[in-house]
Structure formats: structure tokens, C-alpha cells
């Protein structure tokens, strides 16, 4: 035995208790310090006077609420706004936020504050761009849904006839609250949220409806690129099991997915899952992967996305690759996320989701503290997208 070994033994025994010390210190830091019992009343009065003075000055200096224009004329909160039947109408706010209402879209700016506004889209479609700001507070009521925004760009629509809500995110993230959504749901760039509230019909949706068509329609109405269009809705395949002649046919997995019941949709799709992956169209298989992902069955989601990659080289494979990357990113499985994001960027460097892929790759490297890779990726991101949504993160990483 040596004194060096004794030193090691002491260090080891102490290290076993380090975590407990850190935990206890963390709890103490999170607890506010106790109030002092004795405070001189005159001092208290002086402080109160000072605070009142400061608050008075501050309220005097409080910035004015932002203003806005409807087309070329000044807008007034509470005033109903409706875009012409065949033309768009732009709302421009004094903080550079813009809301482009598609033709025949109706809404109202409910309230304005120094930090933002509350905008209600009663029906129709809108393309929203809110510049990032530390204190921005914007809320969009779209049909029965509420979208909380700080700085972002997205397209949103509410179809009051079909009762369908659709949100297509381009930059940043928002929080959505509304019917069938538990608590608040975060939707990030590259993602689409579609919530149909209407009755579920037994028939398959027409070929050119659903998220992809809606996204394309929004893009067409607003001039936004259709690059974030989600997978097209699947046709009926494979055939549902045969039912008694007098019983209504059970809904297909596509119908159930269109109604938002992804668990039931996945259950309905399970019997023919392998066959669908092997024989169905790229849209079907991708949609099947989405259904599995939303139902939380990541293994089946991966199987479907891998099938798309194998069978449909090109844009469909790229979309599936990004879906695999996003799934790993959210797991989080950092190694898999890096693999699939790299794969996407290598196979489709100019793809519609390349900017988002590179941004997420940057996030992963930052998350795992791979400093060298994070710096390389940050530089690559800034070279390609100097004003992209991850630019701030990239700049914070570079020396």
C-alpha cells in the first residue's frame, strides 16, 4: 500500500457523495432566501416612495401600442377585416410583422399592445411573419385554435365549412392550443399540424385534399413556397377486410388517420403493414410512417420510412430521410439523428428541408457538446443561411 493509493481511496470515497452535495445545493439555490425580520420602517417607506417614483416614470415612458395598416389605410382594433373575394389583403404592423390574408379571408385585430397583438382569423387562410424579438407577444386565434408566437413564419388556415385547422411552419416554433389538443402543442419549422374537427366520413378523401393539398393551396394563395408540403393523403390500400353485407364497412386506416385517431389507424393498418410498405405508393407508405410515428410506434414508423428510402429514390426518399432524422432528434437518439441528418444533407443538399436539417444538426452537436463539429456546422450554416432561424445559435457557437 502506498500514500498515492490512499489519496485515490479518499478521492473515490468523497466522489461518491459529490452528487448528493450538488443536489442539496441545487435545492437550496432554488429556494428563495428567507425574509429578514427587522426592517426599519423609515427605510421601508423610502424604498416604497422610490419604487412608486420609478413605476411612475416607467409608466410615463411606456412605449405606445404598435399600430397597423390594412392595405393602405390605418387599421383599428376590433374592426372586422375581410379580404376581397379575388384578391389578397395585407396587414402591416409597425414592428414589421405582416399578416397576408388570402382572398375572402375574414378576421379582426382584437387588441394591440407595445409587444404585439391578438389577431383573430375567423375563416380562410393567412401567411404570418413575426420578426423575432425578445419580448414579442403575438397571439393568433384561428377558428377555435390559439397560436402563441414570439418570432416565426408560418401559414395557417381555418376552413369553417369542413372544420379543418391547418398550420404549416416555415421558421421557428409556435405553441398551439385548441380542441383535441391536450395542453399546448409545440409545432416547429418543417412540421405541419392538421386538425380536422368535422364528422369522419366513411369514404376516402379525394385524391387532392388533405395536408399536402392544403399546404399547396396555402402556398398558392400566399405566395409561400410549397416546400414544406407534407405527404399526400393515401388512397385506399390495402382493401379492408370483408364485412357482412348489411353492416357498414369499417373505416380504413386512412379514414381513421384523417379523423386524427392515429392509434386506431395504426391498428387498422397493422394486418397489411408489410404489404403496404412493399407495394403501396410513396405517398401511402410515407403516410403510414406518419401514422405510426404519431401513434408512438417508432419501430413501424422506421420500417415505413426505410421502405420509402429503398423503393423511391429521389424527393420521396429525401422526405423519408428527414422524417427518420426528426424521429431520432426527438427521441432523442443523437447518433441516429446525426446519421440521418448527414444523409439528408449529402443526398439532397439543396432539398426543401436542407436548411432545417442543417439547423437541427447544429442543435445536436451543441446538445452533445461536440464543440469542434458544432463550430464546423455553425460556420456551414451561416455561410448558407446567414439569416436563418438557427443563425443566432450558430453565431453563439462560433468564437
Amino acid at each position: 500500500m502506498s500514500l498515492d493509493q490512499l489519496g485515490d481511496a479518499i478521492a473515490r470515497s468523497q466522489d461518491a457523495a459529490i452528487a448528493a452535495s450538488v443536489d442539496a445545493a441545487r435545492r437550496r439555490l432554488a429556494t428563495p432566501p428567507p425574509r429578514r425580520r427587522r426592517i426599519w420602517r423609515p427605510a421601508l417607506a423610502a424604498i416604497a416612495t422610490l419604487v412608486a417614483l420609478v413605476l411612475g416614470v416607467r409608466s410615463y415612458l411606456e412605449p405606445e401600442p404598435i399600430t397597423f395598416q390594412v392595405g393602405e389605410r390605418p387599421g383599428t382594433p376590433g374592426e372586422p377585416i375581410e379580404a376581397p373575394p379575388a384578391a389578397e389583403l395585407q396587414l402591416r404592423f409597425s414592428d414589421s410583422t405582416t399578416v397576408l390574408l388570402a382572398a375572402a379571408t375574414r378576421g379582426v385585430v382584437d387588441d394591440v399592445t407595445p409587444r404585439g397583438a391578438r389577431v383573430h382569423v375567423e375563416r380562410g387562410r393567412a401567411a404570418v411573419s413575426v420578426p423575432p424579438g425578445r419580448n414579442a407577444e403575438w397571439t393568433f386565434d384561428v377558428g377555435p385554435f390559439e397560436i402563441a408566437v414570439t418570432g416565426t413564419r408560418f401559414d395557417v388556415s381555418w376552413d369553417d365549412q369542413a372544420q379543418v385547422f391547418l398550420l404549416v411552419m416555415h421558421d421557428g416554433s409556435v405553441k398551439v392550443r385548441g380542441p383535441t389538443i391536450e395542453d399546448r402543442r409545440v409545432v416547429v419549422a418543417g412540421e405541419t399540424l392538421r386538425v380536422p374537427l368535422g364528422p369522419i366520413t366513411a369514404s376516402a378523401p379525394p385524391r387532392d385534399t388533405g395536408p399536402a393539398a392544403d399546404a399547396r393551396a396555402i402556398a398558392a394563395a400566399t405566395g409561400a413556397p410549397a416546400e414544406v408540403a407534407p405527404p399526400p393523403p393515401p388512397p385506399r390500400a390495402p382493401a379492408p377486410p370483408r364485412a357482412p353485407p348489411d353492416a357498414p364497412p369499417p373505416p380504413s386506416w386512412q379514414d381513421l388517420a384523417a379523423g386524427g385517431d392515429f392509434h386506431a389507424a395504426l391498428t387498422a393498418a397493422r394486418a397489411g403493414f408489410d404489404a403496404t410498405c412493399a407495394t403501396a405508393s410513396a405517398g401511402d407508405v410515407t403516410a403510414l410512417g406518419d401514422v405510426a410515428r404519431y401513434a408512438g410506434d417508432l419501430a413501424h414508423a422506421q420500417q415505413a420510412y426505410l421502405a420509402v428510402r429503398r423503393r423511391f429514390p429521389g424527393p420521396d426518399a429525401a422526405a423519408a430521410t428527414f422524417a427518420l432524422a426528426r424521429m431520432a432528434f426527438q427521441a432523442p437518439d443523437d447518433a441516429q439523428a446525426i446519421h440521418w441528418l448527414d444523409t439528408y444533407l449529402r443526398e439532397d443538399p439543396d432539398g426543401a428541408l436542407a436548411r432545417e436539417a442543417l439547423g437541427r444538426l447544429l442543435e445536436v452537436y451543441a446538445r452533445i457538446h461536440d464543440d469542434a463539429a458544432a463550430r464546423r456546422t455553425a460556420q456551414r450554416y451561416l455561410d448558407a443561411y446567414p439569416s436563418g432561424p438557427h443563425a443566432k445559435l450558430a453565431r453563439s457557437i462560433l468564437p
Binding site: 490512499l6 481511496a9 470515497s13 426528426r326 442543435e363 464543440d371 443566432k392
Partner: protein, 210 residues
């Protein structure tokens, strides 16, 4: 519908990257709460280790860890070189440990029974003989001047570099070497007479290279 909650959703872009201590310090100075939390998470284990080396494993070392971070967050504006954050925190930890030792001595002098002294925390990974040796080590360290004790603990238990010790103790490298030499001589002399420590001298009476 299977989507993770916001707090767990890594898809949300967060200002997570304080890649360097300079960034971290700058953010803490801006009163960024997330940066304060990251400062704690990054360096609390190091601070806890420094305190444990200097004082031994005591159940209330957490109080000192807490005190170090309260002082650090209060005085961060005074940190001249943000890149030297770790050394600065080490120095505060050493300062806190020495303050505790001074306080303990005063209390011992005033109160024969030292009622506020808490027992040493158990050493779960040590066998009985090793536990006895650890206790004997800190009994001897209690007899050394604080300067020597701290230098000895950081060098021979933590294996900290001499330059780091000099920074943590806010003194020169030459002074640290002198303190280590004296501390080692005193420690070995006391250890020879201690039944729990004598066996550890079987392979020599030197404790590495000071």
C-alpha cells in the same frame, strides 16, 4: 397524440449553446437565468470536489457549495478573465473552505464540545480499514495550518496541477511548493505513529511528486 410535451421536446429551439466560459459569463452577467443554471450544473461537481478534498466528506458540504455559487453569482462582475472561470470558482471554494475551518476553530475554542460539528459522511465504497485511514488522514490535516492543509488536499487527494492550486489559493507557485513540502513532511511524521495510516507507508513515505 404521442407528441412529447413542450418541456421535453428537443425540436424546440432553445438558446442552449454557451460553448465557452466567456459566453457563459457574459450571459450570467446579463442576468440570464438559464446561464446561471448552466453555470451551476457545469461547475457544481468541481466546487463540491474542492470542498470535499479540503474538509473531508461532511454531510453539510452542500451548504458551502451553495455559498460558493451565491458568492460567484453576486461577484461575477468582478471576474476579470471570463476564460479563467473554473480557477476563479476554485478560489472561491477554497476561500469558503478556509472560512469554515476558521469558524470551526473559533467554535471549538469557545465551546468545549463543539456541538455544531457534524459527523463525517459515510464512505460507502471504502472498506473498514480504508475508512479508518480516511478519518486518520483528516485528523492529521486538522493539525496542519490551513494553507498547508488546502494545498496538500488539492495536490495529493485531488491531484490538481500545481498551477491550478496556486490560482485557487491566490498565491505563487513557489509558495505552493513550499507549503506542500512542509505539509508532506508533517503528515508523514504523524502518519508513522498512527496505526491506521502506518500500513499505507509500507511502499514509501513520499506522496507522489509535489
Amino acid at each position: 397524440m404521442g407528441e412529447p410535451a413542450e418541456a421535453d421536446d428537443p425540436g424546440v429551439i432553445r438558446p442552449l449553446a454557451f460553448q465557452s466560459d466567456e459566453d457563459l459569463v457574459a450571459a450570467v452577467r446579463r442576468n440570464d437565468r438559464d446561464a446561471k443554471r448552466r453555470l451551476f450544473e457545469k461547475y457544481a461537481p468541481h466546487v463540491a470536489r474542492v470542498i470535499a478534498r479540503c474538509l473531508g466528506a461532511r454531510p453539510d458540504n452542500a451548504d458551502l457549495v451553495h455559498e460558493v455559487f451565491v458568492m460567484a453569482l453576486r461577484d461575477i462582475a468582478r471576474l476579470r478573465e471570463p476564460a479563467a472561470l473554473k480557477g476563479w470558482l476554485s478560489a472561491i471554494a477554497v476561500h469558503a473552505a478556509r472560512g469554515y475551518l476558521r469558524h470551526k476553530r473559533r467554535r471549538r475554542w469557545l465551546s468545549f464540545f463543539a456541538p455544531d460539528e457534524l459527523p463525517e459522511a459515510p464512505a460507502p465504497h471504502a472498506d473498514g480499514d480504508t475508512r479508518d485511514a480516511i478519518r486518520a488522514t483528516y485528523r492529521i490535516l486538522d493539525t496542519l495550518p490551513d494553507d498547508q492543509r488546502v494545498a496538500f488536499a488539492l495536490r495529493f487527494i485531488d491531484q490538481m496541477e500545481l498551477t491550478e492550486i496556486a490560482t485557487a489559493c491566490d498565491t505563487s507557485l513557489a509558495t505552493i511548493k513550499r507549503r506542500l513540502q512542509r505539509a508532506q513532511t508533517a503528515f508523514v511524521a504523524a502518519a508513522r505513529d498512527d496505526e491506521h495510516l502506518a500500513p499505507w507507508l509500507a511502499d514509501g513515505a513520499r506522496w507522489g511528486e509535489p
